[in-house]
Assembly symmetry: C2
Homo-oligomer: 314 residues x 2
């Protein structure tokens, strides 16, 4: 009897789920509203209902499912299967794994959403060739995950891998976590947009004003004007310097085989990757004497979470 | 038949060794000159001769020894038992484990000296109560080691855990590794002495001049004048800020149960520890919602390396 897994990507608005085989093929996938405003029990029921529907659609029986993996936002205690707290879901110490298990009769494992994405990209995405990777998402914030010997490394009570919250510049930009100068405060898309707006305000003649105004700025803006506008170029160059510093820090501390970048900014492809790899190669501890660290761009997109959640059982 | 271990602390000048039991008791210990200028083979012979002598003195038979653990300076490849390179020993790709094994007929494991010290402090020193720790030595440089689930985490080909070489201040103080602004460039004893001298030069009336002159400055100097001299106070306060930032970074990334500090600066005890723990408690990601990280001062002193090397076999 062939074995399968259910991966659940629990978001603030939608729950996405899929039936996955051990090669990372998604047989079927579907989604349903989260409805966290109706309480944790309702969310657990929604996950269970979605899972039942996935089984029906796929024709896979409950007995063939090894387990359900859930990737959730917030601080997680994997061992307890509990969301310690999540602003997004508005939960404190909610045992979502047990509550879901009760409703569907399949064992449930839980981990943080950025962590499971790291596992997904490593097992089935661009990191397939590696067992030791770090995944960094450059989005509203900077999240990430660490894979050591093919398994998630989450730190004590799963509270580690807060990769965006290491200071790169003591006393620097205010971070959402309360500290000043965090990696996130320089390398997130939010930081890139902030710096682009600042550069525009400081340079009224800058070409980036063509886009219409400050409210039209996205993470793409400074890249679009990189070749034609000095202010745009300086924003991007600075962004790459800071991102490169943060990546090199992680490389020196963890020395993974590869570091995988995800998030919207990565649409810039080699424009981003090439100078970052140069910084990393130049600044990596012991340079060429030690093992190199390969920089990669994530390939699974939104499916990384679902696949990684399923991979919690592999 | 009771089992024992031999721990070897391989230094640039001396090789220290001891016979250790599984509780971390050192039955006998001794040392011999390294003589690395006579080549790697000679060093391997010196280790073997020292080990034979330790067996004789202790009355432990070769058959009772599970293995020899060696802690060596430089970049190590543990899996190969090879010193990839070491400025101290002047070696490149020297297979010290195999060479020693050949001479004594006991299996040899090798790891970096700061890494084995981390293991020693965790298994037998102040970290005994914990399985997940980070050890940071504040000496000429900033070294360290990472223990996860009671085992050393060394990164790909043992090249990780370069904890001193994460940038805290992009573009900051020049570091020995080539980067600018590393943790080491702010938190080493060398950095503390540099900053004390700078403060004295900038303040000719400062009380620290009483010690005789710049050449008399040690890491203790600014602490000694902390209560009576504003320049000394500002050096120490800044040192603690930077050290606290580096510690909190590691806490957010690895979330260990405890972080252990070693090195001469730690003689300051609570003067150092208390404000650092305050910074950590305040800046740790998710504050009190997540598991706390305990700061400790190393207790094994010079024996940490020897015990940790032995613990490579436990």
């Amino acid at each position: 009897m062939k074995k399968y897994y259910i991966g659940i990507d629990l978001g603030g608005t939608f729950i996405k789920g899929g039936v996955v085989d051990s090669d990372g093929n998604i047989l079927v996938c579907d989604k349903t509203p989260t409805e966290s405003e109706l309480g944790g029990g309702k969310v657990a029921s929604n996950i269970a209902t979605l899972a039942e529907r996935l089984l029906q659609t796929s024709g896979v029986s409950k007995a063939q499912i090894v387990g359900i993996g859930v990737g959730s936002p917030g601080m997680i205690d994997s061992a307890k299967g509990e969301v310690v707290f999540s602003g997004n879901l508005q939960w404190t110490h909610f045992p979502i794994a047990k509550e879901t298990e009760k409703r569907i009769g399949i064992p449930v494992k839980l981990a943080n959403d950025a962590n499971v994405a790291a596992l997904g990209e490593t097992k089935f995405g661009c990191g397939k060739a590696y067992n030791n990777t770090i995944f960094i998402t450059l989005g509203t914030g900077v999240g990430g995950g660490i894979v050591i010997d093919g398994k998630l490394f989450e730190g004590n009570r799963s509270a580690g891998a807060e990769l965006g919250h290491a200071v790169l510049m003591v006393g620097g930009e205010q971070c959402t976590c309360g500290r000043k100068g965090c990696f996130e405060a320089y390398a997130s898309a939010t930081a890139l947009i902030r710096d682009t707006k600042r550069a525009m305000l400081a340079d009224k003649g800058c070409k980036m004003w063509e886009i219409g105004g400050l409210e039209a700025v996205t993470g793409k803006t400074p890249f679009d004007y990189y070749d034609t506008d000095a202010s745009a170029k300086s924003v991007v160059d600075r962004y790459i310097t800071m991102l490169g510093a943060g990546i090199t820090n992680l490389a020196n501390e963890f020395r993974p085989e590869a570091i995988i970048l995800g998030g919207g900014v990565c649409a810039q492809g080699d424009t981003l990757l090439k100078p970052l790899q140069e910084i990393l190669d130049k600044e990596l501890f012991a340079g060429e004497k030690g093992p190199q660290v390969k920089l990669l761009i994530a390939t699974l997109g939104n499916n990384a979470g679902l696949l990684g959640a399923a991979a919690l059982w592999m």
